[in-house]
């Protein structure tokens, strides 16, 4: 599904290297967790995969379903099935959530050769998916992420994922800012999308998320590289010991 080889990336303006030879293979249906100290480059990885401006890939390659991902525009990457749940979802004042979601959904459907959904059909769909995530329908009438609580923002991210039906999703600290109940609801939302084909890359600091979303593999990202990989037990170990070992190494 996703094959990252020797990925080097830097901040364009500062020519500061952040990712320094990162390798990762993700197969269909797998859930991979990435943990690691602050500033290690976890969000940068998500941003580079999604194609955000301001980063330059200086070496390495990323193939997604056999396609050179780095050659695609941001929206094309979304169209072929890549989704990024933002660590800090962006506010767009004045743009109604429902309108935003409909535009996202229909643009993506059109790009995938599917017909647009009518206003009515979309409304039904959005309401149903929102209800699954215990999202208050009033939230759909508010401006995109404006004045949302931390938890509301993260739930809205999962709602977008549910509507866009990606093949592969990066969840960047989707658990931070969530209370226990919200964490459970969001996790259920993610698990509902686990169909044996769809893959996830879950960036988190906490084991507790991984209690709900069971990973197949856990990796430690430190100083721009995957420095250690293992099974779910690795997350438990990290929870106990922290990242001291890796911070020193970095």
């Amino acid at each position: 599904m996703l094959s990252i080889q020797n990925l080097h990336a830097q901040i364009e303006e500062e020519e500061k290297a952040i990712l320094k030879g990162l390798n990762l293979e993700i197969n269909p249906g797998e859930v991979h967790a990435i943990m690691g100290p602050n500033g290690a480059g976890k969000s940068t990885l998500g941003n580079v995969l999604a194609g955000k401006d301001g980063y330059e890939v200086t070496e390495g390659s990323v193939f997604f379903k056999g396609q050179d991902l780095l050659a695609l525009d941001v929206e094309e990457r979304a169209h072929v099935g890549l989704f990024l749940a933002f660590q800090y979802p962006v506010e767009i004042p004045g743009v109604q959530m429902l309108n935003f979601l409909r535009t996202c959904t229909n643009e993506t459907r059109l790009a995938r050769g599917l017909p647009e959904l009518s206003g009515m059909d979309f409304l039904k769909l959005a309401r149903a998916k929102a209800a699954d995530l215990k999202i208050n329908p009033d939230m759909l009438k508010r401006s995109v992420n404006s004045g949302f609580s931390g938890g509301e923002k993260k739930r809205a991210e999962i709602l977008q994922m549910a509507l866009l039906e990606p093949q592969f999703a990066v969840l960047d600290e989707t658990d931070s800012g969530l209370d226990i109940d919200a964490l459970r609801i969001v996790s259920e939302g993610v698990n509902a999308l686990r169909d044996g084909k769809r893959s996830f890359l879950v960036i988190t600091h906490y084991q507790r998320l991984l209690d709900h979303i069971k990973p197949d593999h856990v990796h430690v990202l430190a100083d721009g590289q995957i420095v250690r990989s293992g099974g779910p037990e690795l997350a438990l170990e990290l929870e106990e010991r922290g990242y001291v070992d890796y911070e020193k190494a970095a």
């Binding site: 401006d53 933002f86 767009i92 535009t103």
Partner: protein, 485 residues
């Protein structure tokens, strides 16, 4: 390259590529000589076969104008205008002997309006909208005349009204905007050519939208239209003006005056979609748009709303105002102004509260892109007798890129302690993060920008008559189209 930098680059190119109204119509023109003096004023008046009183009125305005100075307080700059370097009257020759019906109108002119999306012939007309089409200094045609006559509504070119309803024109002309109100109003009073006249009699709800479409075509010609709308007791009318001009390297002058008079319990809804040629990406050419628009709510509980979508012109100087005289009268101003490339706009409104319990509401949405500069300038004035008067002002600016400017200059004068004025202002920017977020969700950059901008302006778009809201929304998108990617 950061997305917004890219945005700015693209924005620079667009006005030229997307100004689809920039074509020229090749017809034989009848002009009077270039320049401005008393003889020119007399010639214009003679061309229009005007009565003596109107000529005298023009001459008086002209004399006063020569003693006035161009205003310099607006935050716009442009080279000194040589008023002698313009033509003040230009009309297609074919219209000289007043075509009686559309069949007699030069097909080239009809075709012009068709290309502009304003079909004048019977079958293709905009349903429910009567149109007066003004081409340079004269009116080409007015549609639905018959239907309006049946309702008792007078809607005709102002020059025709001078001949057919002199008593009404003389009674109201210049009573809202006196000839000497300001430099450009004086100029307009001296040389105005055409424009629309509307009179809605007592108790009549105008059965359709009225609309005037202004087209500047001739080279080096100023357009000075004059619009006068009177809505008698308990009457209602909704009026819309649209404007375009060909792309030309030299600047063209447009100085209009619009006067609205609203009697007891009457209402005028006045909407503008202004899309004069804005000049190219280097600021060459474009229209100088110096406009005086004012409404007098003379009657009790009368109401006026100005709604404007301003995307064109190189320089805009425009403050549609409401004088709220009648007790309980209401004024509204809803504005979307978009400046791009090197456009400059100094625009806003004046709400003068005279009567008791008068109310006003101002919603202004300014979008600046490219290297453009935009100022909202607004006055809210509560006079001593404006007991219990209320104003609410919301003034929002949206910046695209970081080389444009947005300024807000509110003037508030309150001389009645029971009057309340509320002012809110925000400035925001379309950020790279917003564009990235939208694109990650599958939108291309143009779609993303349109979504963000539409979200910003929708409160005002909703105020436009249905027939034009869609067109205006498209215009908003076109004005910023290609600005990302």
């Amino acid at each position: 390259m950061a997305a917004t930098v890219d945005t700015v680059e693209r924005v620079k190119k667009i006005s030229v590529e997307t100004y689809k109204y920039g074509f020229e119509t090749d017809v034989e023109m009848d002009r009077i000589p270039k320049g401005l003096n008393e003889d020119i004023v007399r010639m214009i008046s003679a061309k229009k076969n005007e009565p003596e009183w109107l000529l005298d009125w023009r001459l008086e305005a002209y004399r006063r104008w020569t003693q006035m100075e161009e205003p310099d307080w607006a935050k716009v700059s442009f080279p000194k205008i040589d008023y002698n370097d313009y033509y003040y009257y230009a009309a297609p020759k074919s219209l000289a002997d007043k075509p009686k019906s559309l069949d007699e109108v030069d097909p080239k002119l009809l075709d012009t309006y068709k290309r502009l999306g304003i079909p004048l012939d019977e079958q293709e007309r905009l349903a429910g909208v009567a149109v007066d089409a003004v081409f340079d200094s004269v009116s080409v045609a007015t549609t639905f005349k018959h239907k309006l006559e049946e309702a008792g509504v007078i809607f005709m070119p102002i020059s025709e009204a001078v001949a057919k309803h002199p008593e009404l024109v003389q009674k109201y002309l210049g009573t809202v905007v006196p000839t000497t109100d300001n430099y450009f109003a004086a100029l307009n009073s001296a040389v105005f050519t055409d424009g629309s006249f509307v009179y809605v009699p007592k108790g009549v709800r105008c059965p359709m939208e009225l609309s005037t479409y202004f087209r500047i075509n001739a080279q080096e010609t100023g357009q000075f239209e004059r619009t006068l709308i009177v809505c008698d007791d308990d009457a209602y009318v909704s009026y819309l003006e649209g404007c375009t001009a060909p792309m030309r390297d030299e600047n063209q002058l447009h100085a209009a005056v619009v006067e609205l008079i609203v009697m007891d319990n009457a209402e005028i809804k006045y909407s503008t979609v202004q899309n004069w040629y804005p000049g190219d990406e280097n600021g060459k050419g474009g229209i100088y748009n110096f406009v005086t628009k004012r409404a007098q709510c003379r009657g009790v509980n009368s109401k006026v709303s100005w709604t404007q979508v301003e995307t064109g012109s190189a320089v805009t100087w425009k403050y549609p105002s409401c004088v709220l005289q009648g007790d309980g009268s209401q004024g509204e101003f809803y504005s979307i102004a978009i400046t791009n490339n090197l456009q400059q706009a100094d625009t806003g409104t004046k709400m003068i509260h005279v009567g008791k319990n008068t109310r006003s509401r101002i919603i202004s949405k300014g979008i600046s892109a490219g290297r453009s500069d935009q100022t909202y300038r607004g006055l809210v004035k509560m006079l001593p007798k404006a007991q219990g008067a209320r104003n609410f002002t919301q003034c929002d600016s949206l910046l695209i890129g970081d080389r444009c400017g947005a300024h807000t200059v509110p003037y508030i004068e309150v001389a009645n302690p029971s009057a309340a004025v509320e002012h809110e202002a925000t400035t925001s920017k379309v950020s790279d993060d917003q564009l990235f977020y939208c694109r990650q969700r599958g939108m291309n950059e143009e779609k993303a920008l349109a979504l963000i901008v539409n979200g910003f302006v929708k409160e005002v778009l909703q105020e436009l008559p249905m027939e034009f809201a869609v067109e205006a929304q498209a215009l908003v998108e076109i004005s910023l189209e290609g600005s990302v990617g």
